[in-house]
């Protein structure tokens, strides 16, 4: 890794694959009219046009391998991530592949963009290949066609939810276990945590929206462990969005899990003290990033791994302009992992209820609050990507609708262009408890005959009302 895509490609087949990958990546992160999206689309078309093919170009999966124009794409380290991501793209949509006519190099760019958006969005359909074929037919995109897959199993949403919940639970326990072992026996193994991070990354690659949802899990009584996992979840999502390699994501996830390990040194009275801390208590609290470094040094892990996970936990309270704590005299800038961790840490902290403050921000308020610190407290580019990733009302937001209803944001379905949230309505049970109601997509309700038109009045913090969004969203 570490090479640009241009440097990675060695054959035209690889070039085409890289260009396709870039387009998909770009439209997932950016708006349709973004310059990068346009550039990526142009690059794809240029590659097709340069080839000047006499026959259709096919990108196909066979026996777990990718073939472009019948040529097997060899596993080279430089393009491994691209191969695996493309395989996953097809697998999750049960597609065998795609076929482009030579005309694909000359069609209007907006048509190509529309096709690529359909390709991304079809994942949510019951039969993605059929849906994609139908939609491309409707739009008259004769230059692109779908190769339907055979015998490709897709994991059910229920399974994914169960796996996500279980992964979160075990990840939380692995952090607790490491903290306890370090506290009692002075050292701890890292194998379990590493496996949990790998499982988390599997969940992320299968369903990002579902995975982000895990970060809405809050535990007022045992904040540190849920917070650690939430920071890992959010960091992994952000890291994945910006295109970090699998290896780097693995390290980033471990950083997330262990970033607050130093809190084992902070007395519980300080951690759970209601109200303001005294100067002395605050001093103790400020030492925890340094203590995290010490605890990580105590881990039974290879030197190589330690060197990858030491820095970010130390830096997670150092701001982008190097203010914050601990004092850093020799540092010139905060590392990328440190900057990611800091954003994830603050977001989860301000959206969680804590003993020392009687309020917490709702997810969207948190993002807006953080945007004020862009460029001073936070890396402005990363924060922007984070805000894009979280959406206008991040997953888990509790919304009050103008109909008097309340709902939790589940995700932003692709069929609405990713702009309108899908919401689980919350209802009052017979004994006053909150129960799960109907699931609606906000934009669609107005179109349905007879349905009440709903719009968002304001957002609220779910934890203020004892609501655990994940409980409703993950079922």
């Amino acid at each position: 890794m570490g090479k640009s895509l241009t440097e990675m490609r060695s054959t035209w087949e690889e070039a085409l694959l890289c260009d396709l990958f870039r387009v998909i990546q770009a439209i997932r992160i950016h708006q349709d009219n973004n310059q990068l999206v346009k550039r990526c689309l142009s690059a794809f078309q240029e590659t097709v046009a340069r080839l000047n093919p006499r026959e259709d170009i096919t990108v196909r999966v066979s026996e777990g391998r990718l073939f472009v124009q019948g040529e097997k794409i060899p596993y080279r380290k430089e393009i491994l991530r691209i191969i695996n991501s493309t395989l996953l793209l097809f697998q999750r949509r049960a597609l065998e592949g795609l076929r482009f006519q030579p005309a694909a190099g000359r069609i209007p760019q907006e048509d190509l963009l529309a096709f690529m958006l359909l390709l991304v969005r079809c994942e949510e359909k019951a039969d993605p290949a059929a849906w994609l074929t139908e939609e491309t037919g409707k739009k008259g995109f004769s230059w692109a066609s779908v190769l339907k897959g055979v015998d490709i199993k897709r994991r059910s949403v229920e399974n994914l939810r169960e796996k996500a919940k279980s992964t979160y639970f075990h990840a939380m326990n692995s952090v607790r276990d490491v903290a306890q072992r370090i506290s009692y026996q002075g050292y701890a193994g890292i194998r379990k945590s590493k496996r949990m991070v790998q499982n988390m990354l599997d969940c992320l690659s299968e369903d990002e929206a579902l995975f982000v949802c895990l970060s809405t899990i809050k535990d007022y009584d045992d904040y540190t462990y849920t917070h650690s996992v939430n920071v890992a979840v959010l960091s992994l999502c952000l890291g994945n969005r910006i295109g970090l390699s699998r290896n780097s994501l693995e390290h980033l996830g471990i950083c997330g899990l262990f970033h607050d390990l130093g809190k084992v040194d902070v007395p519980r009275e300080i951690l759970t003290k209601p109200g303001q801390l005294t100067e002395g208590e605050w001093e103790v609290m400020q030492k925890h990033p340094m203590a995290s470094v010490m605890q990580i040094l105590k881990l039974r892990a290879s030197h190589e791994l330690k060197s990858k996970i030491l820095l970010a936990p130390f830096e997670h309270h150092v701001k982008y302009n190097l203010s914050g704590y601990p004092k850093v005299e020799l540092k010139k800038e905060v590392s990328l992992f440190g900057r990611i961790l800091q954003i994830a840490d603050v977001y989860d902290a301000v959206t969680s209820s804590r003993a020392y403050r009687s309020y917490a921000l709702s997810p969207d308020q948190a993002v807006r609050h953080m945007m004020k610190g862009s460029g001073t407290d936070y890396d402005p580019i990363l924060l922007k990507v984070f805000a894009i990733m979280m959406g206008t009302y991040p997953v888990g937001s509790l919304l009050e609708l103008d109909t008097g209803e309340f709902g939790l944001v589940v995700d932003y379905p692709m069929e609405t262009g990713g702009t309108s949230p899908r919401i689980i309505l919350l209802e009052q049970g017979k004994e006053g408890e909150i129960i799960r109601g109907e699931t609606i997509v906000l934009a669609q309700t107005s179109k349905e005959a007879g349905a009440r038109q709903r719009s968002i009045l304001r957002s609220l913090n779910p934890s203020e009302f004892g609501i655990q969004p994940a409980k409703f969203i993950l079922g």
Binding site: Y75, Q180, R191, D222, V293, S335, M371, Q428, I467
Partner: protein
């Protein structure tokens, strides 16, 4: 036309194929643990395994193995039975929670190799291991080998006490007090949000333009990721540790930091990255300065650190890999090694014969400097060294100063090995150690080279002590057929270093004679005449003149021959 095999027979064949694959897998893993991977045994074992797997997959498309209680099953039938012992294949798979392993058609030889390597590496798992078969399989990203594993595993160092029920844990968490939805009336403002977060609420909406990456930002983001992927954070980590130790001067923490630095240095040495090694040692210096006032433990721990990095297992990394190091970087090694304590000489010196010339030159320079700080370890090394190593080490004494090293050199001139004595004498000459008395025995050394070299050295300056030694040596040495020329050379040396003190001896030797000239007398006379000529004093010239007119032909001829231009 062949008849299709009956179902039972086909199944038997399949199962026997699977058993054979497992045997080949076991053999490959075993071979990998005994030989280097490029050894023909390993190559053959891996080829055989891959061939069998490939044949099976071409026929059956997939091979799915189930793991259950130290057994491996295929189609519900046990195809491999383990004993539940550490180090066994089935045990290792079961221990790591693997439930199924699936191989699919299209399997690449590289995947087979990686799979066998992973099993070999993790078949036994030490306490506190960082990874296992599952983590390694995950990291290897193999397309044709998939696995299914349990989500939770037991730690090797004992079960944890993590609470919670995996089925109903989410419900047991409390996001807050749980005031319920009824606490909020529609339209009612939310509870008062306090500063500074209150301001955030007033920051109503984010401009859509703010949520779009510009082209420049997208490019910078890509660059950030590119840099991160190839970043070596060693220097940053060192700075961080130094920063922390400025703020937390605690013994315990100091120990962990030093442990980390030892490993970092070991890695740098193995990679021959002397730039980073130098940074580590400079940081250590800095940390030492910061912490030495924190308590006596700081100084003692730094000392222990230095002793630790001077141990043979640590310095071992310097033995090999030099061929890939550019010469410019080899010079950096000197600066690094000069941070080491003199005791490192013991092991640095011992590895000299195995190190290639450019690196050896650097190490030799370092040894000289370190031994000059404390010669003790170098002396210890000399005493423990064999003849071959001594021949390398003794010349280093030539570059050292001080009486102790001079004493060692003289001690070396008495070693049994001629090569060592030779090197010692050369070193003495290079250092211009003027110790004629101590060198005297070398005039009688069994090696003609050493004898001549000693004599030449002694004759390099006018000196009564050397003169006396040579006179004594020449008077006592018996002349044989073989040492004639050497004796003549000795006389010449005496002429160079001698004074009027030796004239009586030379005069006696030259003038004493008879009518019958014997071989040994004529040789001595010739030598004495040459010595007198070399002395070139009024007195010596008078003796020669007298000899030239001697009535004895032998005496006369010797003097006249010497005086011939």
């Amino acid at each position: 036309m062949t008849q299709p095999l009956p179902r039972k027979q086909a199944l038997r064949n399949t199962q026997s194929g699977v058993r054979s694959i497992i045997s080949s897998l076991l053999l490959a893993v075993k071979t990998l643990s005994l030989y280097a991977e490029d050894h023909s045994h390993c190559q053959n074992a891996l080829s055989r395994l891959h061939k069998e797997l490939e044949e099976f997959l071409n026929d059956q498309d997939t091979l799915v193995l189930e793991v259950r209680d130290h057994q491996i099953l295929h189609l519900g039938e046990v195809v491999h039975q383990g004993q539940g012992r550490d180090g066994e294949l089935a045990f290792a798979l079961f221990r790591d929670g693997i439930m199924t392993l699936a191989f699919s058609r299209g399997l690449e030889p590289e995947e087979t190799r990686m799979f066998a390597k992973i099993l070999e590496r993790y078949k036994s798992l030490p306490t506190g291991a960082e990874g296992d078969i599952v983590t390694a399989l995950w990291e290897s990203e193999m397309t044709h080998i998939e696995y299914e594993a349990v989500e939770n595993i037991l730690e090797v160092d004992g079960p944890s006490e993590s609470p919670g029920d995996p089925q109903d844990w989410l419900g047991s968490l409390s996001p807050r007090g749980g005031e319920g939805l009824s606490s909020l009336k529609p339209g009612e403002p939310t509870r008062d949000l306090k500063q500074p977060l209150r301001a955030a609420v007033q920051f109503s909406t984010i401009e859509p333009a703010l949520l779009q990456l510009t082209e420049d930002e997208a490019r910078r983001l890509e660059e950030m990721v590119r840099i991160e992927e190839k970043r070596d954070a060693a220097q940053e980590i060192l700075n961080m540790l130094a920063d922390i130790l400025k703020q937390r001067q605690e013994e315990d923490f100091f120990s962990y930091v030093l442990d980390y630095m030892v490993d970092e240095l070991r890695t740098a040495f193995a990679a021959k990255d002397f730039e980073i090694a130098l940074k580590i040692l400079k940081t250590l210096n800095q940390i030492h300065k910061t912490c030495r006032h924190a308590g006596p433990w700081a100084v003692s721990k730094v000392r222990s650190f230095l002793l630790r990095i001077s141990e043979p297992d640590f310095l071992e990394g310097l033995k090999t890999g030099w061929s890939k190091v550019p010469e410019a970087r080899i010079a950096d090694a000197k600066e690094v090694l000069l941070f080491f304590p003199p005791v490192a000489v013991l092991h640095l010196g011992a590895m000299l014969p195995k190190v290639p010339p450019p690196a050896r030159a650097v190490m030799e320079e370092v040894i000289v400097v370190l031994a000059s700080r404390d010669i003790g370890p170098f002396q210890e090394l000399l005493e423990a060294s064999d003849e071959k190593l001594l021949a390398i080490l003794v010349p280093l004494l030539a570059k050292m100063n001080g009486e102790h090293s001079a004493g060692l050199l003289l001690h070396m001139t008495r070693k049994a090995s001629e090569a060592v004595r030779k090197e010692a004498l050369r070193a003495i000459i290079l250092r211009r150690l003027w110790v004629p008395q101590a060198l005297a025995p070398l005039l009688n050394d069994e090696s003609p080279f050493i004898r001549q070299l000693t004599a030449r050295f002694l004759g390099s300056r006018k000196n009564p002590a050397a003169e006396a030694l040579l006179v004594e040596h020449l008077s006592k040495t018996r002349i044989s057929k073989t040492n004639g020329e050497e004796l003549i050379a000795c006389f010449k040396v005496l002429g160079k270093c001698g004074t009027s003190e030796s004239i009586p001896f030379l005069s006696d030797t030259l003038l004493k004679g008879g009518l019958i000239s014997r071989f040994r007398d004529s040789l001595r006379r010739r030598g004495a005449a040459l010595a007198l000529l070399a002395l070139d004093s009024e007195e010596s010239r008078a003796v020669l003149k007298k000899a030239c007119s001697s009535r004895f032909p032998g005496v006369r001829n010797a003097a006249q021959d010497a005086c011939k231009p």
